[in-house]
Amino acid sequence: MSESFTRALMFVKQGRYREAEPFLRQAIQSDPEDPQVFFFLATCLMHEPKNRAEALSMINEALRLRPNRAFYHAQRANILVLLARAKEALREVYEARRLAPDSADSFVAESVVKLVLGKPREAERAARQALALDPENEAAGDSLADALRLQSKFGESEAQIQNLLASNPENPWAHSSGGMLALQKGDARSAERFFLAALRIDAEHQEARDGLLHAFRARSPFYRAYLKYSFMMERLDRVGRGLFVIGLLVLLQIAKALFVGPLASLGYLLVALYLLFVLWVWVARGVGNFFLLRDPLARHALRSGEIREAIVVGGGVLMGLSAFGTGILLKQSAIIFFGLTLIGAALPMSLVFTNRSKAGRFLFGAAGAAVYLGGFASLALLLFPQEGVGDWAANLFGITMLLALLTTWLGNIPSLRRG
């Protein structure tokens, strides 16, 4: 074992993956045929989102050198999950299970993959199988707690988390699971405590940090409502989610047909509420972060991209809503245009500052700029009408708003939107 490899292993044991990486690269240079070095390098790289493609090539190399190592396959499955390739990950899990049917690791990996695929019941079964083989397996225990929570088995999930914390009070994942459970139950204060406990143990715990931000934002009732909606949608599978939105749309059409004449304004209100409901998903985080900017502790938890998002998206939506309301009250189209422009632009801009997809950042950034340009150009045409251009202001504004809505469809393409 080379000195570099020994040093790297020490870092890996401490979870210091970034620091282990250069030593592993050195170790590869001195021994390019050692599959373990590639395995550990893949393990280190997978923790950095930007390095996950390389992590996959490293685990592939480890598997080339030792194709029958079950835990290499299990780790490959984990990397594939992180790369949002869950179906391939599942195949890898099955291969790992074939090679080592008595290994808990394959079942843990399967449980995680099933969670990602939105199959918490199957995830629970796999986690329990892992625990039957290795009752001390913390990763399996954590996965079981999550699978139970996602099936709304709150009591069982809570008991599982308590068990995990009783056997290891310094397990940040268990604290984090506790935080997610509290969030799902609508108890933002408890969630905050759980996430802070996880961060005290591991200050760079990404899940706990994200959870803490959710908990901070959930101090606002609007964000709590959004969380409830998100958790509800999470419980549905892909088809169920689609049917839910389509069902709402059908109900809306029925309401529009019913509310005519003196009830027409009620119909418009329903349309506005529907749009707000559908579009809120895109801007909820930015708005939530905007409120956090005033909090002395929480604002420091935000990263620079999140702060910019808070200002542009959250600030834009709130200012836009105020302007829109004022414009309606004063019956001033210019103020309404201004408000809608800010709200409309917030939709693509919500996929710019924290999006890890370079193509997505570019595309949605350009769309956001186009919405600002189109909106303000329409506003200028409205304020300073030119002869011979007809109703250009309204037409241009309509096209601009359509563009803003179109970006929400593009935002559903996974390769353009990576969190």
């Binding site: 001195s30 992180l82 990602v116």
Partner: protein, 481 residues
């Protein structure tokens, strides 16, 4: 929305796999593992040397010889391999051949002190004590810290240069167990740990005034006012932990501390401590402290101390835990007096340190070494500009433009600019001076390396600031007034 699901993949530690599916690291013995490793990696010189040394220790002489020969096939001039072969020959009883080999290697490298030490032993074995003494002195002259107490006794030499050098007038408490110490330090010296006498002092370190003052309080003033300090029951020495982003002068200030008090400076890297043998690392650590005790006042400097003083909860197996326990025991002075020893630890990752090291009597002064401020950057720019062809260097402008830069970043900026100036010089066939503009241009493509560190440090300061450990970081970031 649920961040936990994807994150779970990262929660599975790679060692969980080993625990359950059979580890590749279940070594029955160090030598067996090394043998396997060498078979897998026959071109790896450090590995071959490690294996050869291990074989020598176990008296597996043919294997040791084969490994040293292999090193020489790869690198025919490798001096340590040549020395190794001479040692193998000596242990086999072929002393004459060993002498010939040792003389040949010393002809090629007359400054190679371990060669003279071996030759001293060889000629003594051949019955020439006088020549042995001469060779021994030669070895000690070349490397004053090199010693071999047994050989010294056999040669009938009263005292070595090393022990003479340790009789420092400032030494308040010479160790009582000197003879025992010599035996122990014998091996430490074999590991080539040098006791330096740094010439750099606080005057050579720009800025860092509060850090200098802390260190003065801890070691310099007590040495100057020994009676006063002992009247208050204060002991000389102790532990100071320096932490901060990399490249910001932690090593330099440690060296300057030793220079300031004219004390010995022992710089320790983790590779000098860790040993694959069970108990080997603990022994190395003890020998190192003994070396410092015998050279007191001395500064024992542990670079990247987080690797050696790591949080024990990160280590499931007991091997590393016992090393950490040994380190704690040495720091406490349980195994020898630490009077007059300043233990300095430097780390970029204080959050990985075992909390036990922060208790009183250990690293009880914890100092944050931030990136250089503007005036310190100016001084660094001036220093880096020395010996370079410069034209109108505006250190003020550069210092202003290089906010958050570490000393290492500033050096890198100079390197980039110098490379560009060199390429122009080669094209024009004359010396092209380096300008402020060149340096500012070099800056444009650079990001301060300290930023990444502060991203992590901010998280620890916000969420894991027990006992106000990271208050200085919070103040530096402007989060806490």
């Amino acid at each position: 929305m649920d961040p936990g699901i994807y994150g779970r993949c990262e929660s599975i530690e790679p060692f969980d796999f080993f625990a359950n599916t059979g580890s590749d690291f279940n070594m029955t013995s160090r030598l067996d593992s090394l043998r396997e490793a060498v078979a897998l990696s026959p071109q790896n010189i450090p590995l071959l040397l490690l294996f050869a040394e291990g074989s020598l220790d176990e008296l597996h002489l043919p294997e040791a010889r084969a490994a040293f020969d292999r090193v020489l096939q790869i690198d025919p001039g490798h001096i340590e391999a040549k020395l190794g072969i001479a040692r193998v020959l000596y242990l086999r009883g072929n002393t004459s051949e060993a002498v010939v080999r040792a003389e040949a290697l010393l002809q090629a490298r007359p400054d190679f002190a371990p060669g003279w030490l071996l030759l001293a032993r060889l000629v003594l074995a051949e019955g020439d004590r006088k020549l042995g003494q001469e060779y021994f002195r030669k070895a000690i002259t070349l490397s004053p810290n090199l010693t071999d107490a047994r050989l010294e006794r056999e040669l009938g030499i009263e005292s070595t240069q090393m022990s003479a050098s340790t009789n420092n007038a400032l030494n308040p408490d010479p160790p009582e167990d000197t003879a025992e110490f010599r035996n122990e330090t014998e091996e430490a010296a074999d590991e080539f740990i040098d006791v330096e006498k740094p010439e750099v002092t606080f005057g050579d370190v720009g800025g860092m005034e509060n850090i200098k003052e802390e260190i003065r309080m801890k070691i310099i003033y007590p040495l100057e006012n020994r009676a006063l300090f002992s009247a208050y029951g204060k002991k000389l020495g102790g532990g100071v932990l320096l932490y901060g982003p990399p490249g910001c002068g932690k090593t330099l200030i440690s060296k300057a501390t030793a220079g300031e008090i004219n004390a010995g400076f022992i710089s320790v890297g983790i590779h000098q401590i860790l040993d694959l043998y069970v108990g080997g690392s603990e022994k190395n650590l003890h020998q190192l402290f003994q070396l410092a005790r015998n050279n007191a006042p001395a500064v024992l400097f542990f670079d990247e101390v987080d690797a050696l003083a790591a949080d024990r909860k990160d280590f499931r197996e007991s091997a590393m835990r016992t090393v950490i326990n040994q380190f704690l025991a040495e720091m406490d002075g349980n195994v020898g007096s630490n009077q007059g020893i300043l233990i300095l630890g430097a780390t970029n990752a204080p959050w990985h340190l075992d909390p036990a090291f922060r208790r009183p009597g250990r690293f009880d002064r914890i100092i944050f070494v931030p990136p250089p401020d503007e005036s310190a950057r100016r001084s660094i720019v001036d220093i880096l500009g020395r010996d370079k062809p410069l034209q109108n260097l505006d250190a003020y402008a550069l210092a202003k433009r290089t906010k958050e830069y570490s000393g290492a970043d500033l050096k890198s900026m100079f390197d980039i600019a110098t490379e560009k100036a060199l390429s122009r010089a080669m094209k024009e066939g004359r010396i092209v001076p380096l300008t402020t503009e060149d340096l500012l241009q070099a800056c444009k493509g650079m990001k301060p390396s300290t930023r990444v560190w502060f991203e992590s440090a901010k998280n620890y300061a916000l969420y894991a600031n027990q006992g106000g450990f990271y208050d200085d970081v919070l103040s530096f970031l402007g989060i806490r007034k």
